[in-house]
């Protein structure tokens, strides 16, 4: 069980070498913009093709340049939440979520849908369009849509970056609940130091297209291996301020 990524990609002069392995846990890919985090996520999802390497989830190879395996994104069953959420503006909340239920057997579809409405607190919004609901509700719809078919992996590309602070705090707690409810590898991309510090089981730090450090947040924050990591975590003294307000797993 878990997700293994060992890939290389060159695009527009930028070189990405990404190699790590996680179990059914929450991993945060942390680094400055342009460090290769989002690119890694797109490569995992199959939206772009690595030049070489291997991607496996739960023991199954989704990409393997050596064996010429490249499963298209349609057949990966990887839930993906985009930075701008990418809700379909012409579909209601209900249709957005059901659009994600492709391949779910007809007789359990509606049951699964009701379950999503229940656990993501979307009652009464089923027939509204994305433009008619709040930012937090949109987030929850995007999560429900990505999770309704019970994907093998959940990929999150800075989904909270556009939210104002109180809502972001709420959504972080919500994501930890999702991580608990769905026992799958969850990969969260962020450049937010608070998220990097408080959320993950495993923190993977990116700089200039390379993984520069991997470990638990205390390991990384207390003993940064390189200058780049040190700079990234310099703001760690904030933890005294952030913990009481967030209330997430202090360590």
């Amino acid at each position: 069980m878990g997700l293994t990524v060992d890939i290389q990609k060159r695009v527009n002069g930028f070189s990405l070498v990404s190699s790590w392995e996680i179990g059914n846990e929450l991993a945060v890919l942390f680094g400055y913009s342009g460090a290769g985090k989002s690119l890694t996520l797109q490569l995992i999802a199959g939206l772009m093709k690595p030049d070489s390497g291997v991607i496996t989830a739960n023991g199954k190879a989704y990409f393997d340049s050596g064996q010429d395996i490249n499963i298209p994104p349609q057949h990966r069953s990887f839930g993906y939440v985009f930075q701008d959420l990418a809700l379909f503006p012409h579909m209601t909340v209900k249709h957005n979520i059901l659009y994600g239920a492709k391949g779910v057997a007809k007789d359990v579809r509606m049951e699964r849908f009701s379950g999503m409405i229940e656990s993501f607190r979307l009652h009464g919004l089923e027939n509204k369009l994305p433009a008619e609901i709040s930012g937090g509700q949109k987030q929850r719809v995007a999560f429900a849509r990505a999770l309704v078919r019970r994907p093998d992996v959940l990929l999150l590309d800075e989904p909270f970056s556009a939210l104002d602070n109180p809502l972001r705090v709420e959504m972080r707690a919500f994501l930890l609940q999702v991580r608990k409810d769905f026992d799958i590898p969850v990969v969260l991309v962020t450049h937010d130091v608070v998220e990097a510090y408080t959320m993950p089981d495993t923190l993977i730090v990116y700089a200039n297209g390379r993984v520069v450090q991997k470990g638990t947040p205390p390991e990384v924050f207390n003993s940064p291996l390189t200058q780049e990591v040190e700079e990234l975590v310099l703001t760690r003294d904030h933890r005294v301020d952030i913990h009481p307000s967030i209330g997430l797993r202090p360590f």
Binding site: P72, Q74, A86, F88, G100
Partner: protein, 221 residues
């Protein structure tokens, strides 16, 4: 209103409707390919389909004769197989309208399809939907404003088509004289009363149609 005027009105509508239906079918498909795909000869294809927009309609008509005339490279085979030629029939008028209206459809639809957010398309893929499903359920619905605008422009262009139609359908009274052609004949023979009547009708029809299209596009979106 006399029988020949009525005939021209009916024929014009018939030609424009048939041409627009085929313009929508082919235009949207070509626009999708040009907007979303990269393939060898893409730019050449774009130029080919856009040419009728800038060529004089008589030149477009000339090419249609070369292609579909009884000795044309396509028309010859049709004639050999069936003994029938499209020349000087109302089908030819529809073909001429189709060819000159097609670039308007392709240009506006392509722009609309290209402006659909790529994340929405990627989202559809990660949710397990094939490219065809994504095109039908996401890309085209989000491009419908541009597609409808293209259809309206194409219909208006088809209704007013003159030059290419004259070349391959001729101006045969009671057979291929659409309103623009009938107006040309009437004015040429000095029948100003009938000509002006038809001019007013054509203008009103075009105006009414645009008004209806505007209203329905407001209601739809």
């Amino acid at each position: 209103m006399d029988a020949s005027t009525l005939f021209s009105i009916k024929l014009s509508l018939q030609v424009a409707v048939v041409a627009t239906i085929f313009v929508i079918l082919l235009g949207v498909a070509v626009a999708y390919l040009l907007a979303r795909k990269n393939f060898f000869g893409k730019e050449a294809l774009d130029v080919l389909f856009t040419l009728p927009l800038v060529l004089p309609p008589t030149v477009t008509g000339y090419y249609l004769i070369v292609a579909f005339g009884r000795n044309g490279f396509i028309g010859r085979h049709i004639y050999e197989l069936t003994g029938w030629s499209i020349m000087f029939t109302w089908y030819a008028a529809a073909l001429a309208s189709f060819v000159v209206a097609l670039p308007l459809m392709i240009k506006t639809s392509r722009a609309a399809i290209e402006s659909v957010d790529h994340d929405l398309i990627n989202a559809s893929y990660t949710l397990g939907h094939t490219e065809l499903e994504t095109a039908v359920k996401v890309v085209l619905p989000l491009s419908k404003r541009g597609i409808l605008a293209g259809a309206v422009l194409s219909f208006a262009r088809a209704l007013g088509e003159f030059g290419a139609t004259l070349m391959i359908a001729g101006n045969i009274p009671g057979k291929t004289d659409t309103m623009p052609l009938a107006i040309y004949s009437l004015a040429g023979s000095g029948d100003w009363e009938k000509a002006s009547g038809m001019v007013v009708i054509l203008t009103l029809m075009a105006g009414l149609f645009l008004y209806a299209a505007n209203r329905c596009s407001r209601r739809l979106f």
